[in-house]
């Protein structure tokens, strides 16, 4: 700061003081930790449910294909906000679903994860399916022609290629999921966006607060995109 304009130096000191005050008065790290927890739990859940849906949609049983397609088309076209609000007002308030917790905070957190899983799994399913669709039919036909069994065709030829081309679409779904965790603010889960709203209502530092919250999300999403994009490019099958 020495040598700079004195007004600027004191401005910096002031801004630093404000940021430290925020860290004391508001649980910024805790809020972002909730965001991360929401994202990780929902990612695991939607990967499992989405894989099952994808298996249903690419399988040979027409009824499973039909139900899988219907699920994806219905869920993809409902706003996530409607789903999450429904888990709270519909499932919890009206039908009394508590997901095994007596505390309202824990219940809301679990309901938000449930909503995020139900929604995101539709996109995971489509990402996996798009990976399978990039494998040319000729690959499987050639594998069958040299006498590989069904299991061998899948495990040696089709799925290795499909997984490689699913990395980038799945990474996009993950990034969208991290950003979508903010929707949990609609049912009062204490994550970053809700904290931002609370801070803006109480403090007169709109730009600074927004910059801090925005930076938090940039730190969460950009490296995820860069790393997974790099991995995706590295493992991609060149055709």
């Amino acid at each position: 700061m020495r040598g700079g304009a004195p007004g600027r130096a004191s401005l910096h000191a002031e801004a630093r003081e404000i940021v430290f005050d925020f860290l004391e008065d508001y649980d910024l790290l805790g809020a972002f930790w909730t965001t991360v927890q929401l994202a990780v739990l929902s990612a695991v859940g939607s990967l499992i449910w989405g894989t099952l849906l994808a298996a249903m949609r690419v399988g040979p049983v027409p009824l499973m294909r039909g139900i899988g397609t219907a699920y994806v088309n219905i869920v993809r076209n409902i706003p996530l906000t409607v789903i999450i609000l429904f888990t709270s007002l519909g499932l919890n308030n009206t039908l009394g679903v508590t997901l095994g917790s007596n505390e309202i905070e824990t219940t809301n957190f679990r309901l938000a994860v449930l909503g995020l899983v139900l929604y995101t799994s539709a996109f995971v399913c489509e990402a996996l399916r798009s990976g399978i669709n990039t494998v040319p039919v000729g690959q499987a036909e050639a594998a069958r022609a040299i006498g590989l069994s069904f299991g061998q065709v899948l495990s040696l030829v089709v799925l290795p290629q499909a997984f490689r081309s699913s990395v980038v679409p799945l990474a996009n779904v993950l990034i969208a999921l991290i950003k979508n965790t903010t929707v949990a603010a609609a049912i009062g889960v204490a994550e970053a966006a809700l904290l931002m709203k609370e801070m803006i209502e109480n403090e007169a530092q709109l730009l600074l607060i927004s910059a801090i919250i925005a930076l938090g999300f940039v730190i969460l999403t950009l490296p995820t995109g860069l790393i997974l994009g790099w991995v995706g490019k590295k493992v991609a099958v060149k055709r």
């Binding site: 690419v58 040979p60 049983v61 027409p62 009824l63 499973m64 139900i67 088309n73 219905i74 993809r76 076209n77 409902i78 706003p79 996530l80 906000t81 409607v82 999450i84 609000l85 429904f86 007002l89 519909g90 308030n93 009206t94 039908l95 009394g96 996109f123 489509e126 990402a127 798009s130 399978i132 669709n133 494998v135 039919v137 499987a140 899948l154 089709v158 980038v168 679409p169 996009n172 779904v173 990034i175 969208a176 950003k179 979508n180 929707v183 603010a185 609609a186 966006a193 709203k197 803006i200 709109l206 927004s210 919250i213 925005a214 999300f217 999403t221 950009l222 995109g225 860069l226 994009g229």
Partner: protein, 296 residues
């Protein structure tokens, strides 16, 4: 039926499919029965909870249509403002001048990395503190601002990949006949890229439409979801019925748009006049950008 995963089925596989179908059907029926009986136990299937949607126009004219109107208004405004902004940003990202390309890339990647809800909350406080927009209009302004900032960045990426998807020969030929950079973009690349981008733009409209619901849930913007909430309060907490009606409306609207996008995509791929470069309608495609993916 045969696919990359399995061959056309013989008699044994067909028998196995029948068994799988029966087992799966039993599971589905069990789930549906459980849902219905739970709803019945809580009295959610009684006619009194549902009748107003069929016997009177009041819920429609008082709650649903005004809400839907606001939803559509916010989505349309956001898209109309975001489209030209996104086109400018997308073209600027392809500029030969680093001093244009780099700042624009940073702006685009920044706004794509931030949740749209954060942008909306920021917009609401911004209009409250620095402008004299009346407090009734502020939610609409905030929702549109958030949607524009985010979707202009996403559309910028769509425009950029639409231009990059064109065959290289197009710009080479244009340069060979002596067109300037500006002519090349205006006369050769953009007209073709716009057609290539159409399906992706229509799909983005679905994302915009869905994101307006955030304004209703968090910013007190009276759109479809918020009015459904008020409505269910008015009719004695018929949450299940109200949400079902609203969800059906959203599904119908978005499904129509999605189907239109994929119809466009198929049609453009078939068309003889295009160069064959078409950006796919769904948003699960690998994108060329460095960081955050498209919104879902």
């Amino acid at each position: 039926m045969s696919s990359v995963l399995y061959d056309a089925q013989g008699p044994r596989a067909k028998r196995r499919n029948v068994v799988l179908t029966v087992v799966f059907l039993a599971a589905v029926v069990a789930v549906v029965w459980w849902v219905i009986s739970t709803l019945k136990d809580k009295g959610q299937l009684e006619w009194v909870q549902w009748e107003m949607f069929f016997t009177s126009t009041e819920p429609w004219s008082t709650y649903i249509w005004p809400g839907l109107e606001n939803t559509l208004k916010a989505a349309a405004l956001a898209m109309v403002i975001a489209l030209p902004l996104g086109a400018v940003l997308g073209i600027a990202r392809l500029s030969d001048h680093a001093w244009v390309r780099i700042p624009v890339s940073i702006v685009v990647e920044f706004f794509r990395a931030i949740p749209v809800l954060v942008l909306m909350i920021f917009g609401l406080a911004l209009f409250a503190e620095y402008t004299n927009v009346s407090s009734d209009d502020r939610p609409l302004f905030a929702v549109v601002t958030g949607l524009v900032l985010y979707n202009a960045s996403v559309l910028a990426e769509i425009v950029r990949s639409g231009i990059l998807a064109l065959p290289k020969g197009q710009s080479e030929a244009a340069m060979a006949i002596g067109l300037r950079k500006n002519q090349l973009m205006r006369l050769v690349l953009l007209p073709q890229a716009v057609t290539a981008m159409l399906p992706a733009i229509v799909s983005q409209l679905v994302v915009v439409l869905k994101d307006t619901a955030l304004g209703g849930a968090v910013l007190t913007f009276p759109e479809l979801l918020a009015s459904a909430n008020t409505m269910s309060g008015y009719y004695g907490a018929n949450v299940i019925a109200s949400f079902t009606v609203v969800a059906v409306l959203y599904i119908a609207l978005n499904f129509a748009l999605t189907s239109f996008a994929s119809w466009l995509e198929r049609r453009l791929r078939r068309g003889k006049k295009s160069t064959g470069a078409v950006l796919p309608a769904n948003d699960n495609q690998p994108n060329a950008g460095a960081g955050a993916g498209p919104g879902i």
